[in-house]
C-alpha cells in the first residue's frame, strides 16, 4: 500500500523538484562540454548541433527544458512558502506551476520544430 503521505501534493511537488534537480545536475556538465566545442571554432559547434537535430535528441532537449521549468517553478513555490510566508491552501499554486511548465514545453515544441 502506498503511504498516504505520498499522494499528497506537497510530496509530489517535492519529488518532482528533487528528480528534476538530479536530471539538471547530470545534464549541466554535458551542456558545458557541448558549448565548449566552440573552442575549436564555429564549425565544431555546428557539427555538434547537427547531432542535436535527431528526433531522439530533440526529445531529450525537450525533457531538459521541461525539467528546468519544473525545477524553477517548484523552487519558486518553496521560496514563496519559506520566505514570503505563502500559505498554500489549495491546489492553485501547484496547478499554476504545472500550467507554466506545460506552456514552456509547448513553446519549445512550437519553436524547435
Amino acid at each position: 500500500m502506498m503511504r498516504a503521505s505520498h499522494t499528497q501534493r506537497g510530496f509530489i511537488a517535492a519529488i518532482l523538484h528533487r528528480l528534476s534537480g538530479i536530471a539538471l545536475a547530470i545534464f549541466l556538465p554535458l551542456h558545458f562540454l557541448a558549448l565548449a566545442t566552440a573552442l575549436n571554432g564555429a564549425s565544431a559547434l555546428d557539427a555538434f548541433l547537427e547531432l542535436t537535430r535527431q528526433p531522439l535528441v530533440k526529445l531529450a532537449e525537450w525533457g531538459i527544458v521541461v525539467a528546468l521549468a519544473v525545477h524553477m517553478t517548484l523552487g519558486l513555490r518553496v521560496l514563496a512558502i519559506e520566505f514570503f510566508d505563502f500559505r498554500e491552501k489549495t491546489l492553485a499554486m501547484l496547478s499554476a506551476c504545472i500550467a507554466a511548465v506545460f506552456a514552456v514545453g509547448l513553446v519549445f515544441i512550437l519553436n524547435a520544430g
Partner: protein, 108 residues
Amino acid sequence: MNPALFVAQRLTAFVLALAVAVHLGTILYAIRGGLTAGEILARTHGNAAFMLFYSVFVIAVAIHAPIGLRSIIREWTPWRGRSLDAALVLFSLLLLALGFRAVYAVYA
C-alpha cells in the same frame, strides 16, 4: 544542512530564478527556425553583458547544485560525512571549470 549552506542555497536560488527566467526566455526565442553555431556566436562573441551574465549563472549553479545533491545523497543513500563533502566540492569545481570554459568558448 547547516545555516551557511542553507543561506547559500536559498540566495543562489533567488539569483538562479532570475537567471533561468532570462536564459529560458532567450533560448525559447533563439531556437526559432533552428539554431546554428553562427547564430549563437554572433550573439555571444565579444558580448560583455552576456559573458558577465553567464559567469554569474555558472557561479550560482556551482554553489546551488552540489548543496542540493548533498541533501539528496544524505537522505537517500548511506553516504555522508567528509568524503561526501569532498566529492561535492570536486563536483562544484568541475561545474566552475567546465562552465567558465564554455563561457569563454562562446565569448572569445
